[in-house]
């Protein structure tokens, strides 16, 4: 058992255990943190597959950005843990049964019999000067340019959708509009001269 194999099994174990924790933790903050761990371990697995770029992106984007945001959201929400727990217990037997059947099916299919070295020969390791990022980039902008562009459209849709669903002007909120501030003119906008009758005169009458 080489060192690589040792690393693989360690991090694979961490991935599986932490994924299990994500589902079973009652405290959502803990669950999110386990998810972070799960991603990190997965990143290492990818590294072992010589997919350095994807590993780094996973850490940077998912762990660094997405999960942090997720954590904020979870912390801000007030989740009724007791209710969740009750549901969880109630459906646990059924859930477990289904999960076991699924597991059995997956083991039956996704095993060495179908995915062993006989079916898939081990690829030759890449040379030292091989740039994962460069070849990925080349592929993305040539062979996969069409899916790539579609993915960009999907992101655009996500932006439009998010804005439509959340952005709304509430008439009762007070907010500052910098553009209006800048546009204020010196004369008529800032000072308004109000003409008033002299009060004393009124009294004199």
């Amino acid at each position: 058992m080489g060192f690589e194999k040792f690393l693989f099994y360690v991090f694979a174990a961490i991935t599986v255990v932490s994924a299990g924790m994500v589902v079973t933790r009652r405290n959502p903050v803990h669950a999110v943190l386990y998810l972070v761990l799960c991603f990190a371990a997965t990143a290492v697995l990818w590294m072992l597959l010589e997919a350095e770029f994807l590993a780094i992106v996973l850490v940077l984007v998912y762990v660094g950005a997405v999960m942090v945001l997720f954590l904020f959201v979870v912390m801000m929400l007030d989740v009724d843990q007791a209710a969740l727990k009750a549901q969880f217990i109630r459906f646990l037997p059924l859930g477990l049964a289904i999960a076991l059947v699924m597991l059995a099916l997956i083991v039956l299919v996704v095993g060495p019999a179908n995915f062993g070295l006989e079916q898939f020969a081990k690829p030759a390791p890449a040379p030292a000067d091989y740039s994962n990022t460069e070849s990925l980039g080349k592929l993305l902008y040539t062979v996969y340019v069409y899916p790539f562009e579609i993915a960009s459209v999907i992101l655009l849709v996500a932006i439009v959708a998010a804005i439509r669903l959340t952005l709304r002007r509430r008439p009762d909120t007070k907010y500052i509009d910098p553009a209006k501030q800048v546009r204020v003119r010196k004369g008529p906008d800032r000072i308004r001269i109000v003409k008033m009758p002299v009060e004393g005169k009124v009294e004199a009458e």
Binding site: L105, L108, V109, V110, N114, F115, T142, V143, Y144, V145, Y146, P147, I150, A151, V153, I154, L156, V157, A158, V160, A161, I163, R164, L165, R168
Partner: protein, 478 residues
């Protein structure tokens, strides 16, 4: 590798719709609130131009471009054009409804057009990856549309359910695709098909992946038991969105099924035939039975959709060119029927009033006999009464399954469609034999009126002269 700009020519309709969506997005920025109608105009004109582009560029040999990602063939020409046509109808019916509810904003059209783009991408996908991305583009555009009325709790709930279940469904599809990739080492349909033909049915991995792929497709169609989102979403979403959601995406789902299961995994027909038989029987049974118990018209139509999906599956189950053509015919006809039926609901709705219960149709004949007649045609067509086109569509899929010696399946289908006839006829009874609850006249713009008339009469005309459309469908699988 070299890039050849001529390769973009077959993709022009897709590019055009993308540009159209972006144009609406930008133009909307500069419009005052009372000018939002311009979005509507641009969208409708754009869709017509899109149809023109498809017709101009279509025809001729199958073309595969963009490194095998994109295919243009007779099927994609037809389905894309019809998707644009149905979307055109959906937008045309919706204008007044949207304006009355302060939803006549650019985003509606932008999201709708992106959804259309997603469908077109699915239709002309030549790899699993592109098909999946098209599906996601469609789904992601539809989720916010379901929740488009931000003040509606039902809409938000519906969108939430749709989103979560949709994520589950597309997760399963993706998992299935990964299995197929594992089993064949390829993502593009021709290579996968060759590899499947090579390996035969021995490879369990492929069957395993196939099950997930079938589920992804079945979810998109809304087949039992992956239909749970359909009734809740139909009921909660604004009617204009339901109209959109229930019509064109069914055509796209049909295309997805053909691309994934026939173009890609056609070699596994024996397996997916069995899966689809289960789903089809369940869909026809549950859809027709539960629809009877509904009082909400939108929910009723949702269950009717589910039962029609069962019929579309019949054509696929046959696994013959004739069966696929029949299923395609059915899907197209269904999209037109759904567009018309929800169109009537839209036109009946007014500011502050949603026509969505069966009782709202009472005595429609006395209020507006023309709409009642159109609705009656649509209902007859859905029930499959000759000489409407719905009959022809049912006949064709039944013939297809009978030809492959699945007579029992045809008998089951006929039995369920008889049960289904009950609730369609009930609508007609309500319209013609009951007293109206209100005598308020129906005021509708001329455009929508014309569109609905064309839509309703098409049921009759296509039923009497089905050869044209049928010929197109058969040509797609010749």
């Amino acid at each position: 590798m070299d890039f050849n700009a001529a390769e973009l020519i077959p993709v022009l309709p897709e590019i055009f719709i993308l540009v159209l969506a972006s144009t609406v997005l930008l133009v909307d920025l500069y419009l005052r609130d009372d000018q939002r109608g311009l979005n509507h105009g641009i969208t409708l004109v754009g869709l017509l131009i899109g149809i023109g582009l498809i017709l101009a560029l279509g025809g001729g040999e199958r073309q595969i471009v963009l490194s095998g990602s994109f295919v243009r063939d007779p099927m994609s020409d037809t389905l894309n054009a019809i998707i644009l046509l149905v979307a055109f109808l959906a937008f045309a019916y919706s204008k007044d409804y949207l304006r009355d509810r302060n939803m006549l904003v650019g985003e509606y059209y932008v999201l709708g057009l992106f959804a259309v783009l997603g469908m077109m991408i699915m239709v002309s996908a030549n790899t699993f990856l592109v098909a999946y991305l098209g599906l996601e583009l469609l789904a992601l555009s539809l989720y916010p549309m379901v929740a488009f009325d931000r003040d509606s709790k039902a809409g938000a709930e519906a969108a939430m359910k749709y989103f979560v279940l949709g994520a589950l469904g597309s997760g399963m599809l993706l998992y299935g695709i990964s299995m197929v990739y594992g089993g064949t080492g390829a993502l593009d349909f021709p290579t996968v098909a060759a590899s499947v033909a090579d390996q035969g049915l021995d490879n369990k991995v492929l069957v395993f992946g196939l099950a997930f792929v079938v589920i992804g497709v079945a979810f998109k169609f809304g087949a039992v038991p992956f239909h749970m989102w359909v009734p809740d979403t139909y009921q909660g979403a604004p009617t204009s969105v339901v109209l959109f959601l229930s019509s064109a995406p069914k055509i796209a789902a049909f295309a997805l099924a053909i691309r994934l299961m026939v173009d890609g995994l056609g070699g596994l027909h024996a397996d997916w035939q069995g899966m689809l038989i289960i789903l089809a029987v369940l869909s026809m049974g549950l859809g027709n039975l539960v629809a009877i118990a509904q009082t909400n018209l939108k929910r009723m139509l949702a269950y009717s959709t589910i039962s029609h999906v069962g019929f579309i599956f019949l054509g696929l189950i046959a696994g013959t060119a004739q069966g696929y053509a029949a299923a395609m015919f059915y899907a197209i006809v269904y999209a037109l029927m759904a567009a018309g039926a929800f169109g009537v609901l839209l036109l009946l709705s007014r500011k502050g009033f949603e026509a969505e219960n069966l009782d709202d149709l009472k005595g429609l004949n006395e209020r507006d006999s023309w709409y009642a007649a159109m609705m009656a045609l649509l209902m007859f067509s859905m029930a499959g009464v000759p000489p409407t086109v719905g009959f022809m569509a049912k006949l064709l899929v039944l013939e297809a399954v009978v030809r492959v010696d699945l007579v029992w399946l045809a008998v089951v289908a006929v039995a369920f469609s008889i049960i289904g006839a009950f609730y369609y006829l009930r609508v007609i009874k309500l319209m013609y034999f009951d007293k109206p609850t209100t005598l308020e006249p129906i005021t509708v713009g001329a455009g929508a009126r014309v569109a609905l008339s064309v839509n309703g009469l098409a049921m009759l005309v296509l039923g009497l002269f089905p050869a044209g459309l049928l010929g197109i469908c058969q040509a797609a699988f010749a």
